[in-house]
Symmetry: C2
Subunit: 331 residues, 2 copies
Amino acid sequence: MINYNRVVLASRPKGEVVPENFRLESVSTAPLKDGEVLVRNHYLSLDPYMRMRMEDVKSYAAPQVVGETMIGGTVGEVVESKHPKYAVGDTVVGMLGWADMGICDGTLLRKVDATHIPLSAYLGAVGMPGMTAWYGLTQIIAPKAGETVVVSAASGAVGSVVGQLAKLRGCRVVGIAGGAEKCAYVVDELGFDACIDYKAGNLEADLKVATPDGIDGIFENVGGKIFDTCLARMNPFGRIALCGLISGYDGEPMTISNVRNFLTMRLTMRGFIVSEHIELWPQGLGELGTLVATGKLKFRESVAEGLAAAPQAFIGLLKGKNFGKQVVKLA
Amino acid sequence: MINYNRVVLASRPKGEVVPENFRLESVSTAPLKDGEVLVRNHYLSLDPYMRMRMEDVKSYAAPQVVGETMIGGTVGEVVESKHPKYAVGDTVVGMLGWADMGICDGTLLRKVDATHIPLSAYLGAVGMPGMTAWYGLTQIIAPKAGETVVVSAASGAVGSVVGQLAKLRGCRVVGIAGGAEKCAYVVDELGFDACIDYKAGNLEADLKVATPDGIDGIFENVGGKIFDTCLARMNPFGRIALCGLISGYDGEPMTISNVRNFLTMRLTMRGFIVSEHIELWPQGLGELGTLVATGKLKFRESVAEGLAAAPQAFIGLLKGKNFGKQVVKLA
């Protein structure tokens, strides 16, 4: 028996998530059964989708159970194994949740090679967020060279990959992010053609300047007014990959006013969940892994230190306080 | 030279369309040039899309020019021809506009056979409205047998065909229409499984009862609150064919509140204009023509008498006062 810490959902949020919605607990590992592995987690991934799981509403996944370990992607190292496919010392990606350790029967576990790709990248650019970007861009927006693609939350784990993949495909790429520092990073480091600081208060005018030929594809992570403003500049036959609506996750009304544009511009919008398209992961992760290993796909991380910091880091993520992929470095 | 009447756009509407937006004029035919035909129109089609053309806004088609003959589909008879493909006496479908006669160079003109199909049906179930229904249902919603399809403006030229085609494909079909009489027609005559009277004031509750297994496909003609209410009952991977937004054509705000459902239910919505898919018209019109000729596809018309009645009939159409396909019988 080994003692370790975990974070459970203590209560469902009423509006904004607060620290009291979580509880840090010390628990002990049970003895391993046949087919199980014990993993020590090195990094925990924090992602906006977790906010929706905290609600008890009909959605694409069952809600997070109150009193149970918060759901979450992890990378770590096998420390004990009764599973024929995993040996002590293997580095693995899994869904072990907000915890320093965890037992897993192999479900959603995957061995990864950290030789050329940093381990934490398997939670970001070469993990679920990267695949989300890859799927929405290549399977829904499917842009042609020369088309204009706009992506919100552009400096984030998903948005940063969307834009870089679109640039590699010859598109004009415009990001939307909060603050001058993030926008500078998006243009100077990630190579977007432009990035609009939505906090500057000139979204509509700035977007017009940044998209002189209109918009052919939107990769939407935010929703609300930002999305609506983009809709107004769509070109005929534009495509919208609806990935997230982070601006409405605390229960604010989430409306679209420019509905008429869907008709007049013959737009297509599709909401998607990347975990439902597992058959494409080998292809997507193959491309993403090669790009990261060869330095052609850049990423940035916000690293919180220690499991106890996870709730506050998650609350910050929902408010856009992170800068790049938000992870928690565990003991 | 022959004198005839036409209706021109006198002014663009400010909000609701009023009779003063139109002007009836007497004009004379010019001498026919080589390649032209002179057509006497028997029926004029009135359709919601005309409302959008009356605005001077960026849309899928150029706006109707003020002072010119109102755009519109027509069926009629060739009375003079200098075109090798058309002879005097041919019955033709064309786009000759709100006029008793017109000269055409063959563009958008098509000979039709009125032996087994009433001439006016080429403006409805076997014309553009029928094709609109066919395209949106088969190419966007693409329902499987057993799925539930909801169609608004269900007794209208498009909606009535959508529902009957969906029934023929084994779907559960629920219409939405205004008033008990229209709803009774939709169920009793057209064979829909249910029809909800949105004027009865219980839309949400009635829709819940009528769609016990949720909704897999929406064919949307109306928009606004009706559309939003349907969105809330969509099943995972539902499809929405966005054909019209008649409730917002007078400039009322047109919003969607249930945007989150697009994400949680992974919905696909596509706006479309059937005239951009001409390559499918032979296939669609073939199916529709056979169904009408064999009595398997029913339709109903509201017939206004004489060109001078067209403006008032059009205003009535926008308010849902028509019952079935709105046409104007010309002299």
